[in-house]
Structure formats: structure tokens, C-alpha cells
Symmetry: C2
Subunit: 393 residues, 2 copies
């Protein structure tokens, strides 16, 4: 990591930062980016329900060319946001989650491509100032109170609808590629199902293939279980009361456990105790370190997350099934599973690619092994950088 940055100039809302390290040599280029807002009013859901108005945030990196043929859509994962690359301020502690592969000269080269990334509807992190979304925590104009569980069920098809609406406003009528990890891979394949050929290339990183199977549906139930068990959840009607953040913290902890490989967790935590003076052999209340630390992170994270949004996002993915749309799919496909992924093991990607090839569609699989499990698709994505770069030629 460079030791510091000198901001030189900001063009438009998403210009380049040429960063000089403290040694004075050019060591990195960091995009400076800004969140923008898309509003759709009214919005009709995939299931035919009407919402008076929805707003979602988005970011763009690079410039749209004259014939609008250089757009790449990035779709984000379950607990992610549209902040895929760059920084809002030069001194941000962290860049967007895929900054390793999105930027000038990188695998998804913003000198060449116009990259668009959109917050999902019912995004978990509704209280994060850098996330703009609409969901159960939003105010229902009919009641001037949060929708709660009266908000209509949202599907991945609705995520795609908002993305399509944004591309329409830019006048983009084809995508060079759609690229996403995990839930983002699901959205990418939903694009291939709903708008066959609109994206010339589809890159599905750490995805489940063309549907969520029974176990994945149940795994999402396991994740959300502590929320609905929290008495503060009150069937979703908690906005005027104490928040179900105890359950929510456990739910967020469940996601982290599932997303990390056994090896990674064992190296990080092993069998250490939370308090070296309090043996878990002496009292049930004495915790192992892995138990206390991941729960603490869950509580920290819960501060910007809405519990009902978690439930709605989980349901959106549970509903994913485009397996009957495969015969209509067009373009080229690249699947990038992670070797030690327990959520969506590599076999799912291999099976999906095989199904496409049987349908006469070009599909390849590149496995990565960064040792982190599912999260290889986020934090070790540079391992697939060259494969993605080649695929986008």
C-alpha cells in the first residue's frame, strides 16, 4: 500500500487521482469516485407490485465512448454495495471492494471501459451514508412511516430492472460485459436470462450456477434465523421500538463464518480463548475467540444494517432460478469459482458451464485458490485478474 496520497485534480465526478508515494515516485493511481442517485417513480416489481418511488445509488468509473459500446456493469454481493472501486476521498482507509481489478490499466481497464455499479434495492447497509437504497426501512408515502414487512418482496429480477433503467438513461443498449461476485454472479446470470445477449460477456465469480438449490435456500434461512428469533424483531415492525440488533449481529456473524474457509479461520483463530484467563472448559459463558470476535464484528456492522433489509435480500436470492431460461442465453460466459468455497463450491460453476456448452454457448471455468474460501472472490480477485482481462478482449 502506498504510504500517502497527494490529490492532484478531480475531473467531473469520477476522475483519476495520480497518487505519489512518500518516496516521490508514482506508485499507484486511485480513482476518486462519487455516489450518484437513480430514481424510478413509480417502480413496478417483477411480481407486479407497485412502489411509488425507488432510489438506488450508483457509481461510474471511466468514460462512456461515443457509440456507447464500452460499458461494463458490475453487480455486487449479498452484503456489498456499488462501491466497487476507487475512493470517495483520497484518505479513505479502504478502496472499493474490487479496486484490485477495476481502474486505469487494471483487468477491467477504466481507460478503456465505462464501468457502472449499482446499489441493490433492499440493500443491507441502508444506514451507511455511502449506500442509497429503497426497502422496508424506507418511508411509505401513504403512511409516513417505514414500510416494514408491507414492502413488496423484491427479486433479483428487480435488481436487474433498476440496472437496466440506469443503462437506458445513459442510452446504453448493449453491455461489453456484466461482472459480479456471489450475489453479483446471480444478478449477472439473471441478466443473461432476462435480457439474452444484452451483455456480450457474462462473468460469474463465486456463483451458484442457474438457481439456488435446496441447501442454499436453507443456508440463507440459517443466516437470517437469529433476526426472526429476536423478540425485538416484532414481525418486522420495530422501527418505533428497540432494534433487533442482537439477532442482526448474529446473522451478520453467520454470513462471515460461511464465507471464510476452514483453513483461514483456523489460522486466524485456532482454538484460542476470548479471555486467556477464562477457559471454555470452566463455564459455558467462557467463549472461544472465534465466537466472541466474529460476533463483535457482527455488532459493529449491524450499526449500518437494517434487519428487514437482510431478510428481503435473503429472500431475493432464495427466489433465484433461471434454469429454464438457459436455452435462450447468448454471448460468452466465464465462471470463476474459489476452490475452498463452502457457500457455492466450484462444482456448481463447472456444472453451469457444462450446461451452457451443451446448449452451444461458449463457457469456460477458471478456479482460483486464495485460501479464504468464498471471499477469495472478493479479497483475492486479483488471482483472476489476467483471466478476466483476457476474457474482456
Amino acid at each position: 500500500m502506498p504510504m500517502g496520497f497527494i490529490k492532484l485534480k478531480q475531473w467531473m465526478c469520477r476522475s483519476l487521482l495520480l497518487a505519489l508515494s512518500l518516496t516521490g515516485s508514482v506508485s499507484a493511481e486511485t480513482l476518486l469516485v462519487q455516489k450518484q442517485t437513480l430514481e424510478i417513480a413509480p417502480f413496478t416489481t417483477f411480481n407486479g407490485e407497485t412502489i411509488a418511488q425507488v432510489r438506488v445509488g450508483y457509481e461510474t468509473y471511466g468514460n462512456l465512448n461515443a457509440d456507447k459500446s464500452n460499458a461494463i456493469l458490475i453487480t455486487h454481493y449479498f452484503s456489498g454495495s456499488s462501491h466497487a472501486a476507487g475512493k470517495y476521498r483520497a484518505d479513505d482507509a479502504q478502496a472499493g471492494y474490487w479496486d484490485a481489478i477495476i481502474g486505469p490499466g487494471k483487468a477491467i481497464d477504466t481507460n478503456r471501459f465505462f464501468v457502472v455499479s449499482v446499489d441493490t434495492l433492499v440493500n443491507l447497509a441502508v444506514h451507511d451514508p455511502n449506500v442509497i437504497t429503497t426497502g422496508p426501512a424506507s418511508i411509505d408515502p401513504k403512511t409516513n412511516k417505514p414500510y416494514g414487512m408491507t414492502f413488496p418482496v423484491i427479486s433479483v429480477g428487480d435488481f436487474v430492472q433498476t440496472q437496466k433503467a440506469l443503462l437506458d438513461r445513459f442510452g446504453i443498449n448493449k453491455l461489453h460485459a456484466v461482472v459480479g461476485a456471489s450475489g453479483g454472479a446471480i444478478q449477472a446470470l439473471q441478466w443473461a436470462a432476462t435480457h439474452p445477449g444484452f451483455a456480450e460477456r457474462t462473468v460469474a465469480v463465486i456463483g451458484p450456477g442457474f438457481k439456488l438449490d435446496a441447501h442454499s435456500i436453507a443456508e440463507l434461512d440459517t443466516w437470517l434465523q437469529p433476526i426472526v428469533l429476536d423478540p425485538n424483531w416484532r414481525q418486522g415492525d420495530y422501527y418505533a421500538h428497540s432494534l433487533p440488533n442482537f439477532g442482526l449481529a448474529h446473522a451478520l456473524r453467520n454470513v462471515t463464518i460461511a464465507a471464510l474457509s476452514s483453513d483461514w479461520l483456523d489460522k486466524q483463530y485456532g482454538r484460542q480463548w476470548h479471555d486467556p484467563h477464562q477457559s471454555p472448559a470452566q463455564a459455558f459463558q467462557h467463549a472461544f475467540k472465534i465466537s466472541s470476535e466474529l460476533l463483535k464484528r457482527g455488532f459493529d456492522r449491524a450499526a449500518v444494517v437494517d434487519a428487514n433489509h437482510f431478510l428481503y435480500t435473503a429472500r431475493a436470492y432464495q427466489l433465484f432460478d433461471v434454469s429454464d431460461r438457459v436455452p435462450a442465453m447468448k454471448g460468452r460466459f466465464l465462471f470463476i469459482p474459489a476452490k475452498t468455497d463452502r457457500i457455492f463450491p466450484p462444482a456448481m460453476s463447472h456444472q453451469a458451464a457444462e450446461i451452457l456448452r451443451k446448449n452451444g454457448v461458449q463457457a469456460e471455468v477458471v478456479e482460483i485458490d486464495g485460501g479464504m474460501g468464498h471471499l477469495d472472490g472478493v479479497f483475492r480477485i486479483q488471482l483472476a485478474g489476467q483471466a478476466i482481462k483476457d476474457f474482456l478482449q
Copy 2:
């Protein structure tokens, strides 16, 4: 399965039933078995706490020979009991969980071996009339009320202590083998650690190797999480109040999900809805079939399970770590992992066997693939029948 049974004769407490099928031919032999009780008073735990009296149930199959050299100990899994083989009554719907490999002429041949199986302390199913155990739901003689969370933490070493006490009463001072699945494999390896060479052979079916790693500790946390989140749990002090069975049912459901392979769950449930008229796309409350059915089974099961016993059993296994005792281990070892096991994947067994071999101890691995995941070690154990039979020669 035979269509019916005719009971011919019952010898002692554990004699043979020669069953005639409706066709009249001899199609199966079923052991008739009876639960017996071991009492230890006082009992000092592995961690030095004293319990005035503990009682555990046990079953035996076959006969102890004159020189007491033909005993095999069977150790049971997390949610199991000592009912490993045979039936209590000829018309029982189900035989013991390993009836496929324990009985006259079977892999663990009760014509040759004296087989002993013992209920664990803090056994989950304390309200099952066929389980005898001592734990938080037991009456503390000091207060005449259930111990609740004042019951001392129990470890796998304590399970082994009760088993050793029982063998002592029989005058058995060596075991032909100790054989267990999952938590039973953990107990078997605890035997190898605490009493090296006492068992000449150790068979660890679907086990974790010599310790629970960080992820397995966290997985047990995930299982028990709904109990501690249930407001009826009241920090374990619920015996005079409503029971935390809502949380407990979810906990039992979590175990089932983890123990079954993705393929098996998908074949069984797929993406079916609980109610064919209520699409999960229309309301969050509309469930998938896998969600409702496995939870219903959890509620059914919860009727005989105590929530605190679940917590104590989970902690006992979380504490398991005999990795530093491997150099002392003696005898021969057989590991039988299941190919699609997500709880303790086969790599754990292969690694454990390799460590033993490096220590000059004979160890082999036989993988089974019954398609059920972890539960292959229970419901598909006949796939390992020949391997176990050969190993016991």
C-alpha cells in the same frame, strides 16, 4: 425390510429374535435389547468438579467371553443415544441406528463380540424414555431443583470416564475395539488419548481427526445460537417456566441441515414451496418446503430434548483437542469419512491417519459415498461393513 416379525423367544435381557417374514422364510435376525443403568456416585469431572451422582443408560449385545477379551465399545453421535442395535420390542418401528452392522453375523458380529454402548452424560434426549443421562435438566440434590447452568461443564473426557467405569464393573481391562460415528469418533479418539492401547483398535467414522478446528467450533455455535437467542431460555433457568422450544427446534433443524449433503437435500426438497398456493415470491412469510419441513421435524424432536443439554453437549465437543496426545497413541486405527460430508470433510480423516503413520502407528482410511453427506456414517454405514469386519479380524 421384512414385512412382519414373529417373536420366538427372548433370552436374558438381550437375546436373539429370529424373525420370519410373511413369506415364512427366515429373512432377518433382530436383537431384542434392554436399557440398563450405570450409576456413579460421586462423579468427579475431568475438570475437577464433583457431581453427587450421575446415571447413564447402556445397552449390551452378545456375550462377554470367559477371559473378557471380546468387548467392543460403541460410542454415539451428537444427537444419538446408546441404542445402537436391535429393538426394545419386536414391533418397534426402527432398530438401533447401526443395526445394519451390529448383530449376529454382521460386521460387528454379536455371535463373537460383546458389544457395549453407553448414553453420554448431558445427552440431548433426556426426555426420551429410552435414554438415561445426567445433566442440567437433572435434579440437584442440594436444591431439589434442576441444575440448569450450575451443572459443571462436561467434556468428552467425562463421556469416556463413564464408559471406563462401566467396563471396570464388567471386569474388562482391554477392548477389542472402540467404534463411533461423528461425536462417537471423537469419543473413540479421546479413548486413544486418555487410555492409550486400552482399545486395540479404534474406528473413527465421519470424525474430525484429533481436535475441533476453529470452523467446527463456530459451526457448533451456529447450531446452538437459536437456543440462547430464545427469550424463554432465560440464561438456562427455564425449568419453572415456558421452555425455549422455539429456539431448540431451530437448533435441531440446524443440525439436520449441516448433516445432509446438498445433493440429498435438493433431491428431497428442491425448490418446492411449503404450500403450492403460497409463492415465496409473494410474501416473506411464504416458505419453501425445505424451510418448513425441517423446522417441523425440529419441533417434533424438541419434545424429548432439553435445550441446556444441547448447549452442554455442544461445549463438550468444542473442547475436544487431543492433538498433543498423538505420540502416546497405540493400536491400529481405521478412519471412515463420507465423501460429501460438509461437517467433517474427508480431508480431516486423511490428515489424522497421516499424522498417526508419521508417528509409526498403523492407520488406514476407507471413504464411503452414500450420497447423504455426514449422515452416510449413520444411515449408509453398511457401505463400510466389510471394511469394519476385516479390520476387526
